[in-house]
């Protein structure tokens, strides 16, 4: 079948497996991100990860793990500043987002010659997913999903009413810190396929489409994952057939599905 031709290529198989794993991870995290109005967090962490990628390229280490460690440090710094100061979280994120991105730009200036890897991180590339990347994505996804499943009641309560969650004895600070760390890891992993500029779309668009149709929390979660997978698989296939950047195509498919959902939800 010509339509399934793209599945014969190993790079495409890796991209698809990575995409399916990231689809589940980003959609489930995205449900809590959108309910807690933290969409800017993913955007900020993704842009800030540029500095981590630059450090990886400059030092000769694999950029993905370095960027992940960098993003986790930033997430914990954002969490600490949010707790210790009276600054709103979007202000704190804004400061780190721009500063870290600026650092990334300055560091990139020290690398010599053309940097194809940098471009793939900026806009995403289905060619860039290596076997080691796939392992990193798979292990991280499993670990974060185990935490999400075991903490779903606490996270739901926390998203609905932080005060009620505190009174119920939920460790609100700890769970919020873990959520920030999980989000930063998932966002950096998503950078591989979607790129720094567009990765946060997968945290936002599938839960947004799902919310237009969901009547319960359970259906919201299931629909978000379902739409996320449709968007990624369709986006990857289209980017392969028309030789277009994967990140941009995935986001455009998501935006199209969102528009369709808007039309049919009323």
């Amino acid at each position: 079948m010509e339509l399934l031709e793209f599945l014969q290529y190993p790079f495409m198989q890796r991209a698809l497996v990575a995409g399916i794993l990231l689809g589940v991870l980003l959609a489930t995290l995205g449900v809590f991100v959108t309910l807690r109005r933290m969409a800017f967090f993913g955007e900020g962490i993704a842009h800030a990860s540029l500095a981590g990628i630059a450090i990886g390229i400059l030092t000769g280490f694999s950029p993905l793990p370095v960027a992940m460690i960098w993003a986790v440090i930033l997430a914990l710094l954002i969490f600490t500043l949010e707790q210790k100061t009276k600054l709103p979280i979007d202000t704190v994120i804004g400061i780190f987002f721009t500063s870290a991105m600026a650092l990334g730009v300055v560091l990139m200036n020290f690398t010599s010659g053309y940097q194809p890897e940098l471009l793939s991180f900026l806009f995403g590339s289905i060619l860039s997913v290596s076997i080691s990347d796939l392992w990193t994505i798979a292990i991280s996804t499993i670990v974060i999903l185990i935490w999400l499943i075991s903490s779903r009641r606490q996270l739901t309560f926390l998203s609905l009413s932080e005060e009620q969650a505190i009174v119920s004895g939920i460790p609100v600070r700890l769970q919020t810190a873990i959520l920030y760390v999980a989000l930063s890891v998932a966002t950096v992993l998503g950078v591989k396929i979607l790129g720094i500029i567009l990765v946060s779309a997968l945290l936002i668009i599938p839960p947004a489409i799902s919310r237009l149709h969901a009547k319960s929390f359970r259906s919201h979660m299931i629909l978000a994952v379902l739409f996320s997978e449709i968007i990624i698989i369709l986006g990857l296939a289209l980017s392969f057939f028309y030789d277009l950047p994967s990140g941009a195509v995935i986001v455009l498919v998501g935006a199209f599905l969102f528009l369709l959902s808007l039309l049919f939800s009323h």
């Binding site: 009641r153 998203s159 609905l160 009413s161 009174v167 119920s168 009547k215 929390f217």
Partner: protein
């Protein structure tokens, strides 16, 4: 833990408030408030608007910083939270949050059996058909009843309610006070509620805690709510109104 709490029944009062003061900036909200509430008692916090009733509740729950000491069964509030049920004055949440009543009730700490939902909903005057409705679609009264159901579904050792009968009609109010009594009688739950309605409260509670920035009176309603104390609490003009209700 619950067993531990119940075993220590005779060792500590359920709530000990010692020299509690709450100050925001230069404004004193509560000053040197002290009282004890015993296990299994129903106590009402009364006072005029802005007297610090909700602040007192929030301090007991450990939600705000304070000076002084608050112990729940001899322990810090943060250590016994999983045994406290709380119904806030206003439940602030996004009405578009996609969650059904059933899912909301499931957020309680223990696993709840199907038949318990029906029993609990009946206790608060709701039909089981409400379980599948989105939480954000409920009326004010229905939401208040669901909040009470959620707070009591796993039989907390301490139940704290901030103006719980808001939005509930008079018939529902009677049912609500019966629910509080049955929680106390069947499960030994200690109840603290904030109320404006002295007349109703006087017939239901064991203790009243009268606050107006400080503790004005404390004790069983008939002893604590004297004309003099009511005047001190509400001001001379309003006290006669409350006193009239009280003797009805």
């Amino acid at each position: 833990m619950r067993e531990q709490l119940q075993k220590t029944n005779n060792q500590h009062p359920m709530i000990q408030v010692k020299n509690l003061s709450v100050v925001y900036g230069h404004q004193t909200i509560l000053s040197h408030v002290s009282f004890d509430v015993k296990h299994g008692e129903i106590a009402a916090v009364i006072g005029p608007n802005g007297s610090g009733k909700t602040t007192l509740i929030r301090a007991i729950l450990g939600l705000i910083p304070f000076d002084g000491e608050i112990l729940i069964d001899g322990q810090l509030p943060s250590h016994v939270r999983s045994h406290v049920g709380y119904v806030p004055q206003r439940f602030r949440f996004d009405p578009d949050f996609p969650i059904t009543v059933r899912e909301y009730l499931d957020l309680s700490k223990t696993h709840v059996h199907k038949y318990e939902y029906a029993h609990k909903l009946k206790e608060v005057g709701l039909e089981t058909s409400i379980l599948h409705k989105p939480l954000g679609s409920l009326s004010g009264g229905q939401l208040q009843r669901v909040l009470i159901a959620q707070a009591t579904i796993d039989h907390p050792t301490l139940l704290i309610l901030d103006e719980p009968s808001t939005g509930i009609d008079i018939v529902g109010e009677e049912q609500f006070y019966e629910l509080l009594k049955s929680q106390r009688d069947q499960h030994g739950t200690t109840v603290i509620l904030v109320s404006h309605d002295i007349a109703v409260v006087s017939n239901v509670v064991d203790q009243v805690i009268c606050v107006n920035k400080r503790l004005v009176c404390f004790g069983p309603p008939r002893q604590a709510l004297t004309q003099e104390k009511l005047s001190e609490l509400y001001g001379k003009k309003d006290a006669s109104l409350y006193s009239h209700h009280h003797h009805n």
